[in-house]
């Protein structure tokens, strides 16, 4: 996508954010609203400058390239981490982390199943040992560990 077009979309998004931020913060009590209200105004002004600048300069070079395949893999990785976060409280740390490891390796194209399972088990065990057993960080308990 061309740089100037991306910058226009970015400027428009920033203007929306500054308007939302301004309308929310001006309802705060006087002292609490001072700083955020001013910041919202400054953000709006800077976004307008970006908008005008990109319209005047019209930089034609591509800002970034992202193929459909690459976009899909990013969406799937985001979904996997979101699913993990949801499952963490229900299944517990060990089970959901094992599933995350398997899921991530599969998404990324790793195909050796035995290596995958052994790696996932070892990694989860090492991270669990480091955080929970050695450093005493309480991690969500698994259903099979519940007393």
């Amino acid at each position: 996508m061309k740089t100037w077009k991306v910058d226009i979309i970015l400027a428009a998004a920033l203007i929306v954010i500054s308007v939302v931020s301004f309308s929310d913060s001006r309802n705060y009590p006087d002292i609490a609203s001072h700083f955020p209200v001013r910041l919202s105004i400054v953000l709006g002004i800077l976004a307008l400058v970006l908008l005008v600048k990109s319209l005047i300069k019209r930089r034609e070079e591509a800002m970034f390239t992202l193929t459909g395949e690459q976009f899909r893999v990013i969406v799937v990785v985001v979904a996997a981490v979101a699913l993990y976060t949801t499952l963490l409280g229900h299944l517990g740390y060990l089970s959901s982390s094992f599933l995350l490891m398997i899921g991530m390796m599969t998404i990324l194209g790793f195909r050796k199943k035995t290596v995958m399972v052994v790696t996932a088990l070892c990694t989860v065990a090492v991270v669990y040992a480091a955080f929970n057993l050695i450093l005493g960080v309480p991690l969500p308990q698994d259903f099979f560990m519940a007393k």
């Binding site: 963490l88 989860v124 991270v127």
Partner: protein, 508 residues
């Protein structure tokens, strides 16, 4: 001097004392290298354990952890682009590109020597200049803190290259993010949208893990997917770590950066509440200014040397106000205050009369810990980097993702933190695509609350007059420096443009 020599003897000739110090250094390196864990969390866990210990053993353990944790953070920052601690955020900028070029050993060597240099400089400051510097630090009131925040943010201009506007936009977004949660003055909830988790503001460490760790997972995933097609992803070469320590030519080259960055770190360290993040950004900014011919962010050695020397220089110097006045310089030195108190000791000037053997062993402990940190750090880093490059990228990326989510969770034992990490991971990825820099965001989030509090309290003090910032000498000097730091790059950019135009005019 006699006390200092006695303390050296206590540490070096008593194997148990030395062993506790070495153990502390190793623990610090490991927790520093694990995202989500840091020196503060570890000290908080260790202090109750030290209750029953001999004070000498207890403080050697704590000093060791505090000294090496921020250096430990640079190891994953260089090898994986995940800062192990917040203080190694800037190290990723030039450290990871060096790893990508197959120069991870060199990068680790630079990080180690810079950290040791910065750490030793602050130990010497703690040993000899503590009372003088502490008296200056106490002159900091609200106007000075506001000016300090402005000074910190002014470094953004130097780091932004040709993209000043986008850096400013990100900076303002960061400042808005810093206002999320209860207002520091009134306690009124801002931008919380009814979510109780947001009352204390957005958690900083999960935010960092997202911006760096998760973003790098997305980028590797994106890259791997394109490589899977041509089948080349399996042919990863293991770079030779080779010689780690920099040669004499490199030491000579880095020496000015080490000296400047250590000075910045020491000055920031002694100011209570100023923090490590400000020091690393200011040091990085100074390195950019001093090396205009080098393209920072592409794997420049000075880009690693500056933040690493600065963050380690903050460590011992943050103990200056605690040791000389009983005022902790940051949250970690506040834990030292707790540790001293549970040992029945009173921090401050009386500590040097009541228990000189403890006071001096802490001070000298920082010096010795820095000397130990060098070889131990290189051993651990070499071991880790030897493993990391042999792991297939898909497995390593999955493990990084697991480490990120576990680290984010560990900060406050909260699943909400994992969501924040994911959101900031997506944001970081989008920022990279839109060529928006991360650094101003982090700096603004850190400095926002200090800036707002300083501004509000100054206005109360001066009954609404902005002149308060110009009538106080320290504040005036810092604001003048801010104008210089922000103005200089803009001025040189404008001058370059005029030159280019003049050239074009001459050609046509």
């Amino acid at each position: 001097m006699e006390h200092i020599l006695t303390a050296f003897g206590d540490i070096l000739f008593h194997p148990t004392v030395l062993l506790f110090l070495v153990f502390g250094v190793v623990v610090g390196l490991i927790v520093g290298a694990l995202p989500g864990l840091n020196d503060t969390i570890t000290l908080a866990v260790l202090i109750p354990i030290t209750f029953a210990m001999d004070p000498k053993y207890a403080f050697m353990l704590l000093v060791g952890v505090y000294t090496s944790a921020c250096y430990g953070g640079s190891i994953p920052a260089i090898l994986l682009k995940i800062p192990g601690t917040a203080s190694s955020v800037v190290t990723t900028l030039d450290g990871y590109p060096m790893t990508q070029r197959g120069e991870s050993g060199k990068a680790i060597g630079i990080s180690t020597t810079s950290s040791v240099f910065g750490g030793l400089s602050s130990s010497l400051v703690l040993m000899f200049l503590a009372p003088i510097l502490a008296s200056y630090a106490l002159k900091f009131g609200p106007p000075e803190y506001f000016a300090l925040a402005i000074l910190g943010l002014s470094t953004v201009a130097g780091m932004s290259g040709d993209n000043v506007l986008k850096s400013l936009i990100v900076c303002v977004i960061g400042l808005i993010i810093s206002t999320v949660g209860m207002s520091p003055q009134t306690g009124y909830p801002r931008y919380t949208f009814g979510n109780d988790y947001l009352l204390e503001g957005l958690p900083f460490v999960p935010m960092l893990i997202g911006l760096f760790g998760v973003t790098s997972v997305f980028e590797v995933a994106e890259g791997l997917k394109s490589r899977v097609k041509d089948g080349t992803f399996a042919k990863m070469t293991v770079p030779r770590i080779g010689k780690v320590l920099p040669d004499l030519a490199m030491v000579k080259r880095l020496l000015p950066t080490w000296i400047t960055s250590s000075a910045i770190g020491n000055l920031i360290g002694v100011i209570p509440g100023a923090g490590m993040i400000m020091a690393i950004y200011m040091a990085y900014d100074q390195a950019i200014r001093a090396n205009k011919d080098k393209k920072f962010g592409t794997g420049v050695p000075e880009g690693i040397a500056a933040p690493e020397a600065a963050n380690n220089a903050v460590v011992a110097s943050s103990m200056v106000p605690l040791m000389s006045l009983g005022v902790p310089g940051n949250s970690t030195s506040a834990l030292f205050l707790g540790a001293l108190m549970i040992q029945g000791l009173r921090p401050g000037p009386s500590l040097f009369q009541d228990a000189p053997e403890v006071a001096y062993i802490i001070i000298v402990g920082f010096f010795v810990a820095n000397l130990i940190m060098g070889p131990v750090g290189i051993l651990i880093a070499k071991f880790l980097s030897g493993i990391i490059f042999r792991i297939p990228r898909e497995t390593l990326t999955a493990a990084i993702a697991l480490l990120c989510v576990t680290g984010a969770f560990a900060v406050g034992n909260s699943i909400f933190n994992v969501w924040i990490m994911l959101i900031f991971g997506i944001l970081g990825y989008v920022f990279n695509k839109l060529k928006l820099p991360h650094s101003p965001l982090i700096l603004a989030v850190i400095l926002g609350s200090m800036m707002e509090r300083g501004l509000y309290q100054s206005m109360v003090l001066s009954k609404g007059s902005l002149m308060i910032f110009l009538t106080r000498p320290i504040s005036l000097v810092m604001l003048a420096a801010s104008v210089f730091f922000a103005g200089a790059p803009l001025f040189s950019m404008a001058r370059n443009r005029l030159k280019k135009r003049a050239k074009r005019g001459a050609i046509s």
